[in-house]
């Protein structure tokens, strides 16, 4: 299984029936593919729809119906249009059950950095600061390493997204849960050993006696 699919499949297991979930641009947007429609989940795109659906059939794209990345989407029955004030009112006000975002770094305190590499790449925070501050649960979906370096570090060197600790980190190697005591290794990717995860992780990991393989649905 490709790394991105693995991550998206594992994140999808976190999503319970009836939740309102925001998926970020890129990798997180793949998560929707692995959540069965019967689960009755509403996906929110911060640009203004609750009840985001799959890609539209060819030739039926509506220029007024896109996701936050600008890609064409559909709306499910029961969808609602909202403006940006309502969209971020839901996010900041704690009405969003879960947000799934990409990350550049996560550190031992569970802090996330994902919007700026000073002097190099400055995409901007978009909705990320509000999402990480306001959502009931914050799940970071990212590759474990980039350019050979661990993205899970003792302390973020990049500008933080929020002082709010994230709830869960899902990578192609592991599921890690930040806690008061530090980063707890909860699950291993299929066929990956605890030792391999430790070797690929710059941060200190707390390793319980049992570290099961990921549930992938």
């Amino acid at each position: 299984m490709e790394a991105k699919e693995l991550i998206a499949r594992r994140v999808a297991q976190e999503i319970a029936p009836g939740m309102l979930v925001n998926l970020g641009i890129g990798l997180p947007s793949l998560v929707a593919n692995f959540v069965p429609a019967e689960r009755g989940v509403f996906f929110q795109a911060e640009n203004g729809v609750i009840g985001l659906g799959a890609r539209p059939p060819e030739g039926m794209q509506d220029p007024h119906l896109t996701d936050a990345g600008g890609g064409f989407v559909t709306a499910v029955p029961g969808a609602a249009s909202i403006d940006s004030a309502m969209s971020f009112g839901l996010i900041r006000g704690g009405h969003l059950d879960m947000t799934v975002l990409g990350g550049l770094e996560v550190d031992e305190a569970g802090m996330l950095a994902n919007w700026k590499v000073p002097g190099k790449m400055v995409p901007g925070m978009g909705g990320a600061m509000d999402l990480v501050t306001g959502a009931a649960r914050v799940v970071v979906a990212m590759q474990h390493s980039a350019r050979g370096g661990s993205k899970i570090v003792p302390k973020c060197s990049l500008p933080l997204t929020s002082l709010r600790r994230v709830s869960l980190v899902v990578t192609d190697l592991a599921v890690i849960e930040p806690s008061d005591a530090g980063l707890v290794l909860r699950e291993r990717a299929p066929g990956v050993s605890v030792a391999a995860i430790r070797a690929a992780t710059a941060a200190r990991l707390i390793v319980p006696e049992e570290v099961p393989e990921m549930r992938l649905g």
């Binding site: 203004g48 119906l65 896109t66 403006d83 940006s84 501050t133």
Partner: protein, 215 residues
């Protein structure tokens, strides 16, 4: 209510003006107004918007044309030209969290002196801002934003300027309608009074100064 051609509207907007421009990645952005601003070689503009779209679309066209001196936006990640101009010092970019941006614009429009938000606490966004404690929690004080003009895209307008929007093309438009000293709306259709029922109006016509007429 005064109907105007896009070209005439662009003449109303002087160089150096501040503009609130609706849209999210160019969805819900008034493209004809932007084209008219570029055609009259507008320059020195301050643009307040969610993002700078991508080259060739919406606000991205204003960036490429060098019409913008300063951008107050939440995201520029999908427009490499904005990033390049910023890093080269040709364009000032102020990044504002998206939820904070929409509340600051709303505050400007509804007469609030500011709002307290937890977003940005402990990050670079906090720099230089008062931190205020309410009921044991800390918040940033974020100040109102208004602009000389609000340039909106709408789905339908009626003859008195009532506006409605479609699906994800709402985004910042209904809020910006409150906060421009002059509000110019570019609808896709202009319909007789009564076609938009009262409960479907998202922006009351009393807020709209000009409608862009059909070509």
């Amino acid at each position: 209510m005064k109907g105007l051609k896009a070209e005439a509207a662009a003449e109303l907007i002087p160089d150096g003006a501040s503009l609130l421009i609706g849209g999210f990645m160019a969805v819900g952005t008034p493209e004809r107004l932007i084209d008219a601003l570029i055609a009259r070689r507008a320059e020195g503009l301050t643009v307040i918007a969610n993002d700078t779209a991508m080259p060739g679309k919406g606000i991205g066209k204003l960036i490429s044309a060098g019409a913008v001196r300063r951008a107050v936006v939440s995201h520029i990640g999908l427009n490499p030209e904005t990033q390049a101009k910023m890093l080269a010092g040709e364009l000032a970019v102020e990044l504002v969290p998206q939820g904070t941006l929409v509340e600051r614009i709303r505050a400007g429009g509804v007469g609030l002196g500011g709002v307290l938000t937890p977003t940005g606490l402990g990050t670079e966004v906090e720099d230089g801002k008062p931190v205020i404690e309410v009921e044991g929690r800390r918040y940033l004080l974020e100040t109102p934003i208004r602009a000389d003009f609000a340039l909106l895209a709408a789905w339908q307008a009626d003859y008195v300027g009532n506006l409605c929007y479609s699906l994800t093309a709402h985004n910042f438009n209904p809020v910006m309608a409150l906060s421009g000293k002059t509000v110019i709306a570019e609808p896709e259709a202009i319909v007789p009074v009564g076609v938009i029922p009262p409960d479907a109006v998202k922006t009351p016509g009393v807020l709209v100064d000009h409608l862009i007429l059909r070509e």
